[in-house]
Amino acid sequence: MPKKSFRQAINEALAMEMRRDPTVILMGEDVAGGMGAAGEDDAWGGPLGVTKGLMPEFGRDRILDTPISESAFIGAAAGAAATGLRPVAELMFVDFLGVCLDQIYNQAGKFRYMFGGKAVTPLVIRTMYGAGFRAASQHSQCLYPVFTHMPGLKVVIPSSAYEAKGLLIQAIRDDDPVIFFEHKVMYDDEEEVPDEAYTIPFGEANLTREGDDVTIVAIGRMVQFANQVADKLEGAGIGCTVVDPRTTSPLDEETIIECVEETGRLVIVDEASPRCNVATDISALVSERAFSALKAPIRMVTPPHTPVPFAAELEDLYIPSPERIEEAVRSVMGAQA
């Protein structure tokens, strides 16, 4: 099977769905690039080249470069979705949600409910998140907990190239607004990705490792770190199950509970700020439903509660590391006695 990067997987998912369904359109800042300027068409393909090549194939009518006004084009995408198109809008960095949040949570997220189920909103918002790109505090956050909190939205955080393609196709075919998170340091990560179209259902967690001693629930890029730790500790006789929830809304509560009931120990790894993040949510879930299964206190591995630092050394220290995850796993094992 061919190896493809996370970037290629996303590009391929967009192209395949645009070929399959003429109502799928793309809009965002520089998704093609060059519009209205002296520059070359398709000069950009998005700031990191993810949508490169789509404009030449599908044309300016379906690949819409927008003004730098998130409130306008995210709102336009929500309206287009309500009237029958399947827009995929690109919110370049999720950090910009502040200027278009009303269109997302108070409009798109509520249409289905406020119109008695008569309106659907098949909108996808693709957005970059995460630290490690040396892009400073206004371009490095993990704001998926904000969207997870809001009813009416589905929140998808793929952990690899294979996952990204299947989850994005599912997102485009879904009739509800989906916020699709792409970690910006993962775009060059490669793995085997089928050429064919395929879908991965929402709300179905993936077990990327299986072991008997500790359950590690990890989100997005953190799944890779958790896998590294699980592989390392297997040699040391500590078996880890790694749970990738794939979507935080809906959340596959059953799989998480079942894994904790089997291992009796839980470490949650979340790159989002620690107050009211996905880790605290899952910790609360397990405390409520599987408390008696726990052999040790739950450990959460998160950044500190600060903006993402710009100094490279501090940024590296900020991001949850495999070393910190390993320390947490060893600590819940030590608490056994």
Binding site: Y162, E196, P201
Partner: protein, 369 residues
Amino acid sequence: MSEAAIQAITMPKWGLAMEEGKVSAWMAEEGAAIAGGEEILEIETTKITNVFESPVAGVLRRRVVVEGETVPVGALIGVAAGAEIPDADIEAFITDFQANFVVEASDAAAAPEAETITVAGRQLSHLRMGPEDGPPVVLVHGFGGDLNGWLFNQPVLAEDHSVYALDLPGHGRAEKNVAGLDVAGLAALLADYMEAVGIGAAHLVGHSLGGAVTLKLAIDQPARVSRLTLLSPAGLGEELNVAYVKGFAGAEGRKEIKSLLQQLFADPQLVSRDMINEVQKYKRLDGVTAALNALADAVFPGGRQGLVMRDQLATLAMPVQAIWGRDDAIVPPAHGEGLPDNVTLHWLERTGHMPHMEAAGDVNRLIAG
């Protein structure tokens, strides 16, 4: 004995995707005499655990890899030699092998890859291994299977055969349109495939539904079939485990798929995470569920096998053998009872519906023999 009598036992490559294997158990002691073909190891791959039969005969002088250790394909796992060879020579052999091993590992990237091929307007996928001028063998998978299911057979048979494995429509990397295909249609397509790749007649090996397909071809176009091996074949009786077929066609969740796959083996422990993952990845492809349902309706209408060819077996002029696991829970082993005299029947104990995986060594010998 000469120096050449020091022989390396190396990690085998079972299937295209295998890059490393774990020695889960040694079954032979250091110093013990081992025969070629003797089961000396259990090797766990990400896909399945299987016994490894010694490719060499002699005394097992060293277990180079300890139980629980994972090493890449081609790595030295043990050394066999005559008892009279001095230990120092064995040590030198190991040192030499390890020093040169890196070079071999880099060749692993050149492993053969399946290719797409268009046959009678349908896009199939296939893989050929072995010497081009070797006697041709064609491996045909069953319902829901694919060419990777022959991972323990194709490389072994390819030592002295030209071995073809293909994905039928709706399966593996083949197109997912199965419109108009039933057992007869698949048999005709198989003949077209053989024509397309330039095989006149071949030893056909069919598993389950693939067994019915190869049998149908042997009946319709006997000139295409020099020999026929039927593994837990469909086509010899009306009954089959229709709950499995429908369950497999509709299954989505991991647990559902796991419990279905476990029905295929006498030892359900053989179903690994990766096996489940691969089935799940296949089932997520656009069109697969529809293809499996359509195919099930066409070949198993009303939950019965639509084409029973039992009465025609006796008319076949080529050598025919059937291999059946006693614990087959999908196609009833009773269908193997009372076959005509021209069919050689081999029962495999403690084996389920996948004899080519669960008892690969026996099946390979029977196919090659």
